[in-house]
């Protein structure tokens, strides 16, 4: 496990480096170092501190958050295809964020915190709705989960579009942001989501062992001494909090929460005490790489990172679906 953590951290460092170095102007490692310790040239200082670093941190938090909450949803629903995007939580959170923004709150101070909070409330409502619709007894079959997710998600997206079309031009520009995640707003956004993400992620990480026990089903989990209802609620709330805050400033980014935990599961096994931290680190790194690709693919134009993750993630999802059909799920 130590070795795997170390390798993941190396991967993350590489992704961080690429994300800060690559863009309209390439920064060499030396320039980057000088800038970070405050001895760089004026232009590179501006590029790093005003543009690349905030964007990098926001992408990192988003990728890490979506991926660790994806892994948690998978454990909670005992279904490896649960993903914040596929089960509709991300769209639900997007709706809440747009509702909050449509009140044109001040984009600093408390007003900024209301966006992730509103996203959190609608995300919780969405996940509760999807779960109730998809549940059969104590299990959630894949087909039900995905279908309920698609339906609820479509509903939330329609409401979101409706709100946007009725609002000002300024709001309408948010459409591009929400539907694919081109990250904006820099440091204030980071400050707004950081506390929520940190709290949510810590709660999820310390519930790894409980998630292990939950894999045996509610009856056995209870017979092994777990307070099943309480644990489920805690994990559901924490995962939804992390998803909602990630979505509220980065937009709806699909498949990171599905692909990364799945790869980690293949790499290091099903123990959630390993799976969650590895998903956290590699999820951040993976989204950073996707964001770098989004920036250079059609340079100087930047693509929303969500397009890159969906282009890569959707085929992967289909592959898992086929594999699961043939071999049964893990």
């Amino acid at each position: 496990m130590r070795r795997k953590l170390f390798l993941s951290c190396l991967f993350l460092l590489l992704a961080l480096f690429l994300s800060i170095a690559i863009g309209s102007v390439f920064l060499s490692p030396l320039e980057m170092w000088n800038t970070l310790i405050g001895r760089g040239a004026e232009t590179s200082t501006a590029i790093v501190w005003k543009i690349r670093l905030p964007r990098t941190i926001l992408v990192l938090l988003t990728g890490a958050g979506l991926s660790v909450s994806g892994a948690s949803y998978q454990g909670l629903f005992r279904n490896p295809l649960a993903d914040p995007y596929l089960i509709g939580v991300a769209s639900g959170a997007g709706l809440g964020a747009v509702i909050a923004m449509s009140f044109q709150l001040p984009s600093s101070g408390l007003g900024l915190y209301l966006v992730p909070l509103a996203a959190f409330v609608t995300a919780l409502l969405t996940v509760a709705l999807v779960y109730l619709m998809a549940r059969v007894g104590n299990t959630v079959p894949t087909s039900n989960l995905i279908l309920a997710g698609v339906a609820v998600s479509a509903f939330a997206v329609s409401l979101t579009s409706f709100l946007m079309l009725r609002s000002s031009d300024e709001m309408r520009r948010a459409l591009g942001w929400l539907m694919g995640g081109s990250i904006q707003n820099g440091w204030p956004s980071i400050l707004a989501i950081l506390p929520f993400i940190v709290v949510g992620v810590i709660v999820l990480l310390i519930n790894g062992y409980s998630l292990n026990i939950l894999q045996f089903g509610d009856d056995q989990a209870q017979q092994l001494g777990l307070n099943v209802t309480r644990t489920r609620v805690i994990i559901l709330v924490a995962a939804s909090l992390v998803t909602a805050t990630a979505v509220s400033f980065s937009g709806i980014i699909g498949f990171v929460g599905l692909v990364v935990p799945h790869l980690m599961r293949m790499w290091s096994g099903a123990d959630y005490r390993r799976l969650l931290p590895l998903s956290l680190i590699c999820g951040g790194a993976t989204l950073l790489l996707a964001d770098v690709i989004a920036r250079i693919l059609l340079a100087p134009q930047e693509l929303p990172v969500g397009i890159v993750t969906s282009l890569a993630g959707a085929p992967f999802f289909l592959w898992i679906l086929r594999r699961a059909k043939n071999q049964g799920f893990w």
């Binding site: 005992r78 310390i206 519930n207 790894g208 062992y209 409980s210 292990n212 026990i213 894999q215 045996f216 089903g217 509610d218 009856d219 056995q220 209870q222 017979q223 092994l224 001494g225 777990l226 307070n227 099943v228 599961r265 096994g269 099903a270 123990d271 005490r273 049964g328 799920f329 893990w330």
Partner: protein, 256 residues
């Protein structure tokens, strides 16, 4: 010691257990038998605390189970569930070690003693060589033994089992029940188990409780409970009773 007093359980509006009373003493093995749908598995689940109890009470070593938090309940009662879904990606070792869950902190950090108990439990069911295998790589019978090992690792005074011999071959059926009997005698383990095989029940149980339509209708020593009249009235088939040549226990042969 396990005391079940006037227990009634409902699935929605349908009553599935009606005024069930049964006591299992420390060191005693009581086998639950009866036709399909009689409520045997329901009784095991209700006693283990996973079904809501409508009326009556279940006392485990004097403590009423509904007043116990799950973690303390799991230190008193261990359950070997009926052939169930097990998460395939876990190893046998991980699964057995989960029997120690009620004694661990929320991070699940195990001590040397926890690992020793898990190892000992795996040895007792002759499955130590399976430890590194994944659950989906072993047979149904092996899974059944692994679940018994997990329950033994839980180190509780009371053991509940729902058809633990269902997928086992003859040798493993006997070995499992002999092991359970040994534990009952040596550690004063209280055992309540569902068995479909009447002859195994007659050979290994100290007492037999027969269930029908959610009621325990007969309870007594094998020779008293397993009579041709009673079995005929429960299962609606003619049976003959003969005696085991070594132990004189009743053996049931279906009539034609």
């Amino acid at each position: 010691m396990l005391e079940i007093n006037n227990l009634s359980v409902f699935y929605d509006a349908r009553q599935v257990l009606e005024n069930v009373s049964l006591t299992v003493n420390s060191g005693e093995i009581v086998a639950l038998i009866g036709p399909n749908g009689a409520g045997k598995s329901t009784l095991i689940r209700a006693v283990s605390g996973t079904l809501p109890i409508k009326r009556g009470q279940v006392k485990a070593n004097g403590q009423e189970i509904t007043t116990l938090a799950p973690i303390y309940r799991a230190r008193t009662l261990a359950v070997v569930p009926q052939a169930v879904h097990l998460p395939p990606a876990f190893t046998v070792w991980d699964t057995v070690l989960l029997g120690r869950a009620p004694y661990l902190n929320f991070l699940g950090q195990t001590s040397a003693r926890d690992e020793a108990l898990a190892r000992q439990a795996l040895e007792q069911v002759h499955a130590l060589e399976l430890a590194e295998k994944r659950i989906d790589e072993i047979s149904g019978g092996e899974q059944q033994r692994v679940l018994l090992a997990r329950a033994l690792a839980q180190d509780t005074p009371i053991l509940l089992m729902d058809e633990p011999t269902a997928h086992l071959d003859l040798r493993h059926q006997l070995e499992l029940l002999q092991l359970v009997k040994k534990q009952a005698r040596e550690k004063q383990l209280t055992v309540l188990l569902v068995l479909h095989d009447l002859n195994l029940a007659a050979l290994f149980a100290d007492r037999i409780a027969i269930m029908q339509n959610g009621v325990v209708c007969v309870a007594g020593a094998p020779a008293e409970a397993l009579t041709a009249e009673i079995l005929n009235s429960i299962y609606h088939v003619p049976v003959h009773i003969v005696r085991h040549p070594e132990t004189d226990a009743p053996l049931i042969i279906p009539g034609l």
